[in-house]
Symmetry: C2
Subunit: 374 residues, 2 copies
C-alpha cells in the first residue's frame, strides 16, 4: 500500500517504551524479537477491514485469529482501549478512537478506560483535573462515532474491579520482571502498569460475563503493556479462566517536523482536534516534507512521501478514500505535485474534518459529563 518505511540497518537494541520516546525504524525486527505477527496474511480473511488495516497502518498483531473467529462467527468479543487524560485529543488518540469505533461496528463490546491513575503517576495530574479533561476527551470519542449504548466508559480511579485485579496480580510479580519490561521506574509507574493489566482483563471479569476474546488496538510503542498483561493472564488463567488478550498494532504517525514521533514537548510537532483552525493550518504550512530542495528537482526526481508527515496526515487520518491516498502517493512520487500545493490541499481536507468534528463534539459535552461523572 501507500505507506512504506525507511529501511534501517541500525543495530541498536530495539526497546519499546510506553512512557517515553520509541523510535521504530525497522518494523521487521518486531516480528523476530517480540513475537508480534504481521497482519497482512490475515487481511483477505477479515470481512470488512478498516481503512487503517487496508493501508498497512494497522500492520501487526498478537493472536488476532481468535478475534477474527469471533467476528466471523458473530460470537461475543470485546475491544478495550483508552486515553490518558492529560490534555486535548491528538492524532494518536484519534487513531485508537477510530479503531474502537471500527471494532464496535464489527460487533465488539467496547471498554474505554480513562487512565487517570496513569495520568497521576506519570504526569502528576490531580484526579479532579483529570476528571475535567476526561469529559472533554469523552466528548471527542462520542463525536468520532462511539455508541455509548454498547460501551463501558470508566475512570481507573473509580473502577474497583480494576484496582482489585491489580492487587491480585501484584502477588509474585518480581521487580526483575518489571525492570525487564519497563526499565528502572518509580514505584507508582510500576503500579500503574499493574492497573493497566487490570484494565485489559476487565472485559473478562465475571461481572461482564467472564472470559472472552478481547482485542486491544494500540500503537506499537504500547506493546510492553500487552506482553506484561499476557504473562499475567497466563499466570492467573487457572483462577479466572482468562483468554489471553489479543492486540493490533498501528504505526506511529511522524512529527510535523519529520522526526519519528509527535511530542507534547513541542507544540509545533502536532496538533489536537480542538485547537483553532488557523493554528492547525499554520502548523501544516510549516511542516517538514518529503520534498526536494528545488521545484525543478522535485519535478524531475519526484518527492519522498515515505518521509513526509504531510503525506501521513492524509494517509493515516484525513483522506477517506484509499484511491485518493494512492493517487496522492503517485502524484508525489512522480513529481506531479509540489509541496506547497499538497500542503494547501491537505489543509483543506484537515480543516474540513476538524471543523465538522468541533461542531459535533459540542453536542456531546453533556452526554460526556453524564458518562464520566456517573
Amino acid at each position: 500500500m501507500g505507506i512504506s518505511l525507511r529501511e534501517s540497518k541500525d543495530e541498536r537494541p530495539l526497546i519499546l517504551d510506553p512512557w517515553g520516546l520509541t523510535i521504530v525504524e525497522d518494523y521487521e525486527r518486531l516480528y523476530k524479537e517480540f513475537g508480534i505477527r504481521p497482519l497482512k496474511p490475515l487481511l483477505s480473511d477479515i470481512p470488512n477491514p478498516s481503512p487503517e488495516m487496508r493501508r498497512g497502518i494497522v500492520f501487526a498483531h498478537r493472536d488476532f485469529e481468535q478475534i477474527l473467529e469471533a467476528m466471523k462467527g458473530c460470537q461475543e468479543f470485546a475491544v478495550l482501549s483508552g486515553i490518558k487524560p492529560t490534555g486535548d485529543f491528538h492524532l494518536g488518540t484519534l487513531m485508537t478512537a477510530k479503531e474502537i469505533v471500527y471494532f464496535q461496528r464489527q460487533g465488539a463490546r467496547v471498554f474505554y478506560c480513562i487512565a487517570d491513575i496513569e495520568a497521576y503517576e506519570d504526569n502528576d495530574i490531580p484526579f479532579d483535573e483529570s476528571e475535567r479533561i476526561a469529559v472533554e476527551n469523552v466528548a471527542d470519542v462520542l463525536a468520532l462515532g462511539l455508541d455509548p449504548r454498547n460501551a463501558y466508559v470508566y475512570r481507573q480511579s473509580k473502577e474497583e474491579r480494576v484496582k482489585d485485579f491489580a492487587i491480585t496480580f501484584s502477588r509474585g510479580v518480581t521487580l526483575a520482571t518489571l525492570k525487564a519490561v519497563y526499565g528502572e521506574r518509580h514505584f507508582g509507574l510500576y503500579l500503574s502498569a499493574l492497573i493497566q493489566a487490570g484494565d485489559i482483563l476487565l472485559p473478562q471479569h465475571e461481572d461482564f460475563g467472564g472470559p472472552k476474546p478481547t482485542v486491544v488496538p494500540v500503537g506499537i510503542d504500547q506493546d510492553p503493556h500487552l506482553r506484561f498483561t499476557r504473562d499475567l493472564a497466563q499466570r492467573f488463567k487457572r483462577k479466572f479462566g482468562f483468554v489471553l488478550p489479543s492486540s493490533t498494532y498501528h504505526k506511529l504517525i511522524k512529527s510535523l517536523d519529520g522526526s519519528p514521533k509527535m511530542s507534547k514537548r513541542d507544540p509545533m510537532s502536532y496538533f489536537t482536534l480542538n485547537e483553532p483552525l488557523e493554528l492547525i493550518a499554520k502548523k501544516i504550512m510549516n511542516a517538514f516534507t518529503g520534498g526536494r530542495p528545488t521545484v525543478k528537482e522535485q519535478r524531475e526526481l519526484g518527492g519522498m512521501p515515505e518521509a513526509c508527515p504531510v503525506y501521513e496526515l492524509n494517509a493515516f487520518h484525513f483522506m477517506e478514500d484509499d484511491k485518493d491516498v494512492m493517487g496522492l502517493y503517485e502524484m508525489c512520487k512522480t513529481g506531479k505535485i509540489i509541496c506547497g500545493d499538497c500542503k494547501r490541499h491537505t489543509i483543506d481536507v484537515v480543516l474540513s474534518f476538524i471543523r465538522d468534528h468541533q461542531k459535533k463534539r459540542l453536542k456531546y459535552i453533556d452526554k460526556a459529563k453524564e458518562i464520566v461523572m456517573q
Copy 2:
C-alpha cells in the same frame, strides 16, 4: 519493673523486619539508630497507664506527647491497629488487642484493620479464606473488650479509601526507598506496605473528620511501617494536612523454647487463644525456662526470669496484678520457687483466662460476622 533484658554487646547491624524474624537484643540501640524514644520519662504524666506500660512491656514511642495531650485535654484522637488474618489469635495479636481496648477506654476512636491484602501478598491466603478467618479474629477482639460502637473494623480489600491512599502515595516512592526500608521484596509486598500506610492514615481521611493525632501500638519489629508511613505523611502533609502518626512499641514475647520470637513455623513455640486447653497446658509444661540445671542450684543461685518465657507469660499477659508479677520475679530470683511449681501455677492462671475467653467469644461470633461482612 520486673522485665529486664539481656545485655548485648553484639555489633551486628540492627535490622527491623516486619515480615520476618527480628532479633532485638539491645533495645537501647533503637533509641540511637532509629529515633524511637523511651516511654519511661512520660510514664508519670500518663493519667491511667496500662499494665503493659507500667511493666515496661510497652517501652518506647514516637511522638506520644501529642496523644498524651489529647488524652489529658479530652481532644479527639484515634488508635489504629489490626490483624493479618492468617490463623487463630495468638499472643502477639492479644497484645495489640489489649492496647487498642486500652486506648479506646482512654477516649480514642478505634480503627481496626483486617489486613487481608497483606495476608494475600505475604501468605497467599485467598480473600474468601481470610474473610472466614477474620470473623473468628474479630470475635476474639470483641471478647477481649473492644466496644464495636466506637470502632471502625474493616477489611483492606473492601476499603476503597485505603487503596486510594496507597495509589496516591505511590507516586514518587522510589524502589531505593522501599529497598532501604524493607529489603529486596516482591512487588506485592511493597504494595502491601503502601496499603498499610493507607490504613495508618485512614483515621485522618476527610470522611472520618480529617487530620487528628493517631496512635499505632505495635511490636517493635513493625517500626519500619511506621517510619515509612511517617515519611509519606510528611510528604503529603500539604495535600491532606496529616498529623504525623504516633506510635508505641511493645517488646516481643519470647518463644516457649526460649528463642527471641514466637514462630508459626513451630507450633510448640506458641499457643493461640483458641486451642484445646490440654494442649496449651502441655506446651507450657514443655517450655524452656530460666531455671538452673538442678533444684539445688536453683535454690542457691535463684532462677533467671529475664530469660524465661514462662515468667513472660505471667508478666506480659496473664497475671493481672503488678504486685503478683513483682512477687513472682522476686520468688524466682531468690530461689524460693522452682520451675515445676511455677509452671503449674502459670498453667492455672493461663487456662483460667483462656477458658473464660473461649466461652465469651462464642457469644460474639454473630456480631463478628455482621461486622466483617458488612
